[in-house]
Symmetry: C2
Amino acid sequence: MTETETIAYDVVVLGAGPVGENVADRTRAAGLSTAVVESELVGGECSYWACMPSKALLRPVIAQADARRLPGLAQAVQGPLDTSAVLARRDDYTSHWKDDGQVHWVEGIGAALHRGHGRLTGDRTVTVTGPDGTRTVLTARHAVAVCTGTGAVLPDLPGLADVRPWTSREATSARTAPGRLLVVGGGVVAVEMATAWQALGSRVTLLVRGKGLLNRMEPFAGELVADALTEAGVDVRTGTSVTAVTRENGTVVATTDTGGRIEADEILFATGRSPRTGDIGLETVGLEPGSWLTVDDTLRVTGNEWLYAVGDVNHRALLTHQGKYQARIAGAAIAARAAGEDVVAEPWGAHAATADHAAVPQVVFTDPEASSVGLSLAEAEQAGHRVRAVDVDLSSVAGAGLYGDGYRGRARMVVDLERETVLGVTFVGPGVGELIHSATIAVVGEVPLARLWHAVPSYPTISEVWLRLLEAYRDN
Amino acid sequence: MTETETIAYDVVVLGAGPVGENVADRTRAAGLSTAVVESELVGGECSYWACMPSKALLRPVIAQADARRLPGLAQAVQGPLDTSAVLARRDDYTSHWKDDGQVHWVEGIGAALHRGHGRLTGDRTVTVTGPDGTRTVLTARHAVAVCTGTGAVLPDLPGLADVRPWTSREATSARTAPGRLLVVGGGVVAVEMATAWQALGSRVTLLVRGKGLLNRMEPFAGELVADALTEAGVDVRTGTSVTAVTRENGTVVATTDTGGRIEADEILFATGRSPRTGDIGLETVGLEPGSWLTVDDTLRVTGNEWLYAVGDVNHRALLTHQGKYQARIAGAAIAARAAGEDVVAEPWGAHAATADHAAVPQVVFTDPEASSVGLSLAEAEQAGHRVRAVDVDLSSVAGAGLYGDGYRGRARMVVDLERETVLGVTFVGPGVGELIHSATIAVVGEVPLARLWHAVPSYPTISEVWLRLLEAYRDN
């Protein structure tokens, strides 16, 4: 039996992904001693099996698509991408799945890194079981922040484990392109990975249970992305579920509820996420293992004084950037409470993650890119706002046509009729990924439409869509 | 002697570029009868010899540069662009220098197009001399709007006309790439045309009188663009002026004040603009021919009841998009006054071109792109603001590295310390062209920094530079 050491900190952070790192960064900046506990790679899902590798895979695909729309350059890029070069670059962006750089960063901010599996073991206490079985008890004077994120959910199909299905982890870290890839799902991971691997040499089939793709965005987003995937050669089948799957002589065979039989070399399930809270000792503090953790706007778990849940695990917005935002706010709230200072938790206060309700941005890195922020028309109506939505065909914008011939895209602005401010914006089209931040600032800043008329877009950029949206609102 | 017809309108617009068109659009929307007078192509400089052709030439250059920074795609785009295909696309975007589409648009809004040279001939009166010598007198019940723009200024060098120098018109409409092109100037036209023609096959020399390029932007903009031009093969020579130029056996020979002798096939002077007001009858209304026209924020000429000057000709901001903005405001102001309604001319009012003072955006379509809005640090200090500027190296942003290997770029935010709002922002780097509109909305919306912290940029986009800027301000 190994001896158990006890170490006292001000703050203990469970999980060293970007969210945990950012909580620690803020508590350390406030002078609070902080421990960070991580059982896998420091840097988390995002650095090794999500944002970074997926975007490294997708960026050349998007740049190639952009180039193909430009006479004078198009001819040169008709051939396939050099897949091995793209994968090598992806490996560089994941630091070859080594976390030395991130460990260095954590040490640099003066946080203590504890490698191992951390579990709550009562009030303000986390016990870490190290790789060698050593147990270390960490006490937290002020706060424990759970930043353990989510894992992929696999469907309940008999014998699925024997099929060795891909999840987002395998899809972003694969060393070669499978000859045939079957992607199950219609969300961001599904469409991004279908886009990437089709361009990198796989023949991709995309099975979507529902009617369309990207169903958390405005309907036209999924429609435009589905059209483009189909044109790129992806076999998109909506209204289709997998009912059984086996691997026979190395080949994946999936049976669908429409009676189809699909063979593939690999199958990716991008069918949802569940919180990584099953084995972190939630039961020792009166919470249910495996549950999403409900928090207030300061990211503190409901009914608790010292427990925070930050990032995906609280189910407010499953996006790295939004988790980092929450982390900045949680870290500041922890620091304020520790110092006995006022907590500014009214909407848009320094300690309130108000944007989680009003202005969550997202960019889907497909061709076309799909981006949105704030409320969709349906969400705004459901929330009881009196609204009007205006749409603009992006191809009517001079800068869009110049960006690439045959430009197809669409924009929607959802306007709060009471205040004449913008509740939500969606841009879908090539080259709109950086444009969405303009909408984020408009929504967050609650800038009235009358003032937005003075925000002149440069000619000829795609940003001129803002003018078309304002005109559409004025004239209709 | 031809008979002179007189036609009465509510509004007469001199010049049918984008600015004149937008004035007419707004006065027509208000139900005012409107005449538009144009001596050249309807659509103006921008459509045929500026924005449109220049961006059509530059877009493939930028896309190629982007692709060259991406392993897996880079190899395919090492060769030169197909110049004739790029020029053919440029020709399409200028409608082959035919204005049928634009004429159709003017007719569509119900404005009357008068082709010919328009001159003021007294109070609320414009006389048009048609191509056939016919004279038509147009009277304007409510307003005359001068939207005649600017022309290129050539230096006062003996024998220059015999050299047949290029101005922006020839540089954007040339049918072939000259073997050697000498560009004189360091502003937007100079750097954009040097970028385009170098990539399209010319050997370009850029002669800049001053110390650097793009000197109306933050200093690092010109530095980064100069470095990139040099790497692209352009011979950039600063602190150098042309003292004499001749054409000998078809070859241009320029002599410089540093004793140099440069041979070229064509020489482009991009050395400034002057107002096209020399022959529009200003003397008949007590103004000086050839002068810039000074206006108030409703775009009405100082001391005059009915004369407006909109766009470049008023010297507030020589940019198409800013002229169009002024046009919307001038049109609305003319309509309000005609109807006897209130004119809302306080700052940011519906009839005040406030953004001309506070938030003029600009994107220079070079590689890297250079973009800015609002006040530079030097401008803010000169204007008496108490300010602090923070800089961020764009290569520190994950989305920038993913955008392209070896990313180089820089951002600056100028903060008003009294109000903690943003007075100006500059982004220089690949892929930032659509990003500047986020800054425009922040400046125009006067969004406090405390609120901007809630405007979350999507990960991993280049927009995350906003976080780095806010952090730099907070931590320094």
